[in-house]
């Protein structure tokens, strides 16, 4: 009986999936396409749809100096530090607020939310003064510190949602089977949280990877530039912006995010199945 609706649901879902894929990917395609074109082909009344006859000149410009590799190094250090610290701190905090009832719990949750609501546009000057006082300007640690505070409230909130989503009964059942509370948590709940950790981890990674304004004011020395700052060197109001360079640079900047996602995703899927087997 449920055969036909299920099949039509699948076909419908597939059609929507392909259309959504095309919409999502087109600007990305356009970026990659433009990265192989000359400036006069990028901006032209007749669009160049496929970069046939394109060239690698834009990529050559990118690698002409060691600035890209240096910025890549800085960005990787800042982002990895941010992500590791933020996920670790957020994870334990999320467990605390969703698995325990204690005084001050609600105020903690609400405070986080309010922090999340503060408009950051005007905050960077104060953050600069703070880092100056701590003597952390132009350092990876300083920038990571402000990034952690940027992603932490969000990460705790989202992870909290995921922890709450795992029924506590599962843990109770395990405890009845003789597991200790901690064991039950790590055997049962933790594997189920893996997708949540990936989702929030990717989010934090992208936030820190692409952040511009704070990096702009904190990292003013050339050898401390992050990737978005390096990318902005292609914009030049007085000499005309090098669109090809921007697109080639952006394409390269996006690669580590994708690699990060694939690696983490693979690990987590593996973790998920092994957890399920044990459970």
């Amino acid at each position: 009986m449920s055969r036909t609706p299920r099949r039509s649901l699948r076909i419908g879902a597939n059609v929507v999936g392909v259309v959504a894929f095309l919409v999502a990917i087109f600007p990305v395609y356009w970026m990659v396409n433009s990265s192989f074109l000359n400036r006069n082909e990028i901006r032209n009344p007749v669009p160049t749809w496929v970069p046939f006859g394109g060239n690698l000149d834009n990529y050559r410009t990118v690698f002409e100096t060691d600035q890209f590799l240096n910025a890549l190094k800085i960005s990787l250090m800042v982002t990895v530090l941010t992500i590791v610290v933020a996920l670790a701190f957020a994870f334990v905090a999320a467990v605390a607020v969703s698995r325990f009832r204690f005084r001050g719990r609600m105020s903690f949750i609400v405070t986080l939310l309010v922090i999340q609501m503060i408009p950051v546009e005007g905050l960077f000057i104060s953050q600069y003064k703070m880092l100056e006082a701590m003597d952390l300007l132009n350092t990876v640690i300083g920038l990571s510190l402000v990034y952690v505070s940027l992603v932490l409230p969000f990460t705790i909130w989202t992870l909290r949602g995921f922890v709450t989503g795992v029924p506590y009964e599962l843990e109770e059942a395990a405890m009845m089977d003789g597991c200790s509370r901690t064991q039950a948590f790590f055997r049962i709940t933790f594997p189920l949280l893996a997708p949540g950790l990936v989702a929030t981890g990717v989010f934090g990674f992208i936030q820190a990877w692409n952040e511009f304004t704070l990096a702009l004011v904190v990292m003013t020395r050339e050898d401390q530039r992050t990737l978005p700052l390096w990318l902005s060197t292609f914009t030049d109001v007085n000499r005309g912006t090098d669109w090809g360079g921007i697109m080639a640079g952006s394409t390269l900047i996006a690669v580590p995010v994708i690699v990060f996602f694939l690696v983490v995703q693979g690990r987590m899927v593996a973790g998920l199945t092994s957890g399920a087997v044990k459970g």
Partner: protein, 430 residues
């Protein structure tokens, strides 16, 4: 109740950082003395974008280090994009401030009146005195004290299609009226493409639009005993704005709300008869990767926009200032670096790269081809944006972009000008 507790924690954190701040400033003061800083140091110079040619950078570093044994000079390249954010923060930090900075000439007044730069009045004569571009010096002067000096300038002039003017039987215009007529005639003579411009004039381009106001005897804003106010609704300004509207509606095919970026694209697409752009645009039109050197690149002719009196029309002068950070611990060495950047040798390198030098006497170094002549002619009657303390606010809120875009769409000029004046008045005095 609980929120109070959180605040208490936050307050304690503040206290902790405040204490840290006190330690920090003690440290950084240690190295400097009150008479202008240590005798040797590393002088950090911030230059923006790629305007300053590499030769000039090399020369500056080498010469400075030769003349000041033991000291070094580091040029740190910054971008125009985000410069105000960066200067707002870095210049206020004693430990991180660069010693010498380049700043856009329209951005300078805001920072000079805020006390971000050191007073250069005493050095002014040694740096060039009356030979310096006077408008730039005036723009950086507050209450008789000068805080920044010109670095280089650049003004726009007219690019025109030689073939199209010839075909339409139009001579190079020598007065403003002839210019407007030529623009309209060119548009009529070229019905295709539909977006062809006799004069390419995107709606947001108030920087070129200002020329028409000034030429008609009006002004963007006027200073009445220290109190600035918008003067777009004066009869003269209105007349200029009406000329602009005529060009927008009868001669321009550019987007009515567009900006003036990338002018070489419409030029190479054959959509432009005349346009007013900076001189370096030739380079991009004649670069096979960005322009069309073999086709329309060959048809470029240039002249300085003529005024109603037959002299070059007043055009907006762009460019950069240099200044010394007031927080710099190395005032004396920084002054030496600035002196080198205004020296004839250095400015000659700048002029050879096509930048209008900071000293009027060096202008002939630009050369004598038609581009150089147009540059010199345009600069001869160039004007600056009002030196009002709040001018950056006016630009920041984009009052003028909105005004010209609305005029381009055929709005009522008098009404729009009144509205723009009103908005300007609430911001222009800082």
């Amino acid at each position: 109740m609980r929120i109070k507790k959180t605040l208490a924690v936050a307050a304690m954190a503040t206290l902790a950082t405040a204490t840290l701040a006190a330690c920090g400033s003690d440290d950084s003061d240690g190295g400097s003395s009150s008479d202008g800083g240590p005798t040797t140091a590393d002088i950090r110079v911030w230059l923006n974008g790629t305007d300053t040619p590499q030769d000039a950078r090399d020369w500056l570093k080498k010469t400075f280090e030769n003349q000041n044994p033991g000291s070094t000079l580091t040029i740190e390249q910054q971008e125009w994009d985000g410069l105000v954010e960066k200067l707002t923060t870095s210049l206020s930090s004693a430990s991180e401030t660069p010693d010498v900075v380049e700043i856009g000439n329209t951005q300078a007044p805001t920072f000079t009146s805020a006390g971000a730069f050191s007073d250069l009045t005493d050095q002014l004569d040694d740096l060039g005195g009356d030979d310096l571009l006077q408008g730039f010096v005036d723009g950086a002067t507050v209450d008789g004290k000068t805080y920044a000096v010109p670095y280089y300038a650049g003004s726009k002039y007219i690019f025109y299609r030689k073939d199209l003017l010839q075909k339409a039987g139009i001579d190079v215009p020598t007065t403003m009226d002839e210019f407007v007529d030529a623009a309209i005639a060119l548009k009529k003579a070229n019905p295709k493409p539909a977006n062809f411009s006799g004069f390419w004039f995107p709606g947001q381009d108030w920087r070129n639009g200002a020329t028409f106001i000034w030429d008609a005897g009006g002004d963007l804003a006027t200073d009445d005993g220290g109190e600035w106010s918008g003067s777009l609704e004066s009869p003269e300004s209105i007349a200029g704005l009406e000329t602009a509207q005529k060009l927008f509606t009868e001669a321009s095919g550019a987007p009515k709300d567009g900006n003036e970026a990338d002018p070489w694209t419409p030029w190479c697409a054959g959509e432009v008869g005349m346009m007013s752009t900076p001189g370096w645009v030739t380079g991009l039109i004649n670069d096979p990767k960005s322009g069309c050197p073999d086709t329309l690149g060959k048809q470029i002719g240039v002249f300085a926009m003529p005024g109603s009196d037959g002299e070059p029309a007043p055009v907006l002068l762009g460019g950069s200032d240099i200044a010394i950070s007031a927080k710099s611990a190395n005032q004396e060495l920084a002054q030496k670096a600035v002196a080198l950047m205004l020296s004839d040798d250095y400015q000659t390198i700048m002029a050879k790269a096509g930048l209008t030098p900071a000293k009027t006497s060096l202008a002939p170094l630009l050369g004598d081809d038609e581009f150089a002549q147009a540059t010199i002619a345009a600069a001869s009657n160039a004007k600056l944006t009002p030196a009002a303390p709040g001018w950056a606010n006016v630009e920041g809120s984009r009052v003028l972009e909105d005004l010209f875009s609305a005029i381009a769409q055929g709005g009522d000029v008098t009404e729009l000008a009144q509205k723009a004046d009103e908005q300007m008045n609430s911001q222009i005095n800082g």
